[in-house]
Amino acid sequence: MIENLDLGMVNWARAQFALTAMYHWLFVPLTLGITWIIAFFHTIYVKTGSEEWKRLTKFWMKLFGINFAIGVATGIIMEFEFGTNWSNYSWMVGDIFGAPLAIEGIFAFFLEATFFAVMFFGWNRVSKGFHLFSTWMVAVGSNLSAVWILVANAWMQYPVGQAFNPDTARFEMQNFAEVAFSPYAVNKFTHATSSSMLMAAFFIISISSWYLLRGRHILMAKRSIVVAACVGLLASVFTIFNGDESAYEVAQVQPMKLAAFEGLYEGQKNAGLVALGWINPEKKVYDTQEPFIGFNLHIPGLLSLMANRSFGSFVPGMKDLVYGNAEHNILGAVQKMERGKKAVVSLDAYKQAKKAGDSAAADVHLAAFNTNKEFLGYGYLGKPEEAVPPVAMSFNAFHVMVILGSLFPLIFFGYLYFSYKGSLLEKKWLLGLGTITYILGMIASQAGWIVAEVGRQPWSIQDLLPVTVARTNLTAGTVQTTFFMFLGLFTLLLIAEICIMVKQVNIGPEEN
């Protein structure tokens, strides 16, 4: 029961989920992205018949295999956590997530697993055409695996195509297409996969740059860089465009998240996007402190444009979303809490009436519940300010992602330009920067997930279920134990991956 709720448990369970998700995400983007680039390499080999391209393809395939092997099954831990730490949530979303995740298991996994072996073992054993087809299918299968988990994540942020069944306490799917093709899901998938391609491009550039600085495998490194930089440039530009589209979607369905990651406390017309500024971490939505410490620079109208596709439009701030704004017809958390509490009371009354066998009363309470159910989650908030996510973390993560994301196309362009000019080997500064680009890409990618997941707090399902209700009633100690076990296991696996990867990079591609 809530009176016995251990808030420490909720925080430890959150921390554990963040740890496993972020660790899992160390491997996923490389798998998603590099399979496409390897498919390009393999295609060039089949087209040219050049042994150098074959050597190059096999080398990157081997590094992909290491990443895949160390990363495989790390995602399953999150499913363990759902059942143990988040049992209410797990029960409530079973009907929605069951279908997408079953499709992932049946279709994408088998596609990936079947062709994976042919891709690695198929050299000189199957026809060149079938071998190449298998490599492409591994890329398709890997990315299809990502579709369904991202659809599930998108649904939590924008829960469409469902209806809550008060008898089973489950959200039941009403419209599969609405869930699978919601604009939020489409944006999430395109943003995650395109950013993964740029991450994979950086992986190749980092290692190839290191080879060039050392004067080793020069031809292979130069060829790898040209292909990776082409893919990376296109992917990074596309990521910026669909990132903007994602921000628009967030503004429509999660305005509080947008306000948090821009540090916007007071709603504004012609709202500016923060170009430079240090967020005040002590500021609360109800106080009069300045939102920024010291100098800050906003680009006028850009946030309005991003949020509503119009420079002069009004963007609600956190205060508007907490306390309401009648002028702009914005319902605040204060008003939503009233309706949410009515929904909870009606749900309880419905349950009691059903238990007593009073179907007439049950119908009345059900009708009352249905009137307010879209605000169900607000009924569990203790005070309206709880609807505000951690602002400083959301703001910092968002701006780190945006700043790095804006820099990436320039890096790819630089590599292509100096490769074209034939002077790449002389540009030691660029090659030096190139060796750390994979780390920069990883920082941006992880920051993106922090924006998505921290920014949507306190909700596990937007507006419907806060994390405090989604959890299992366990003690903090139980979760702490497994948190540290995972930390140890993950650290060991990461060390193993880095050691094996570094060894293979040192060995380099097989000689002819």
Partner: protein
Amino acid sequence: MKDTPASRPWWGARIYRFYRDGFREMTVGRTLWKIIFIKVFILFAVLKFFFFPDFLATKFSTDTQRADYVIEQLTQAAQGSTQPVKGE
């Protein structure tokens, strides 16, 4: 040597040989498979078994009981819910 259609082994045997030869020729792959097996063992035989029971599956035997429990959580949770705060 190319097999003639008559001497070509059964497709099942060819798939078996394909995998067998592929595994035999692995170099770094052997280490990776060892890591995968150890990891999967730790995850399923240790962590899942001892530390991550499915709470509702172990505590209740029917879906009706599980639904009732979750509904109870949903209706009673509203009485004084608060968000976790920094440091807790």
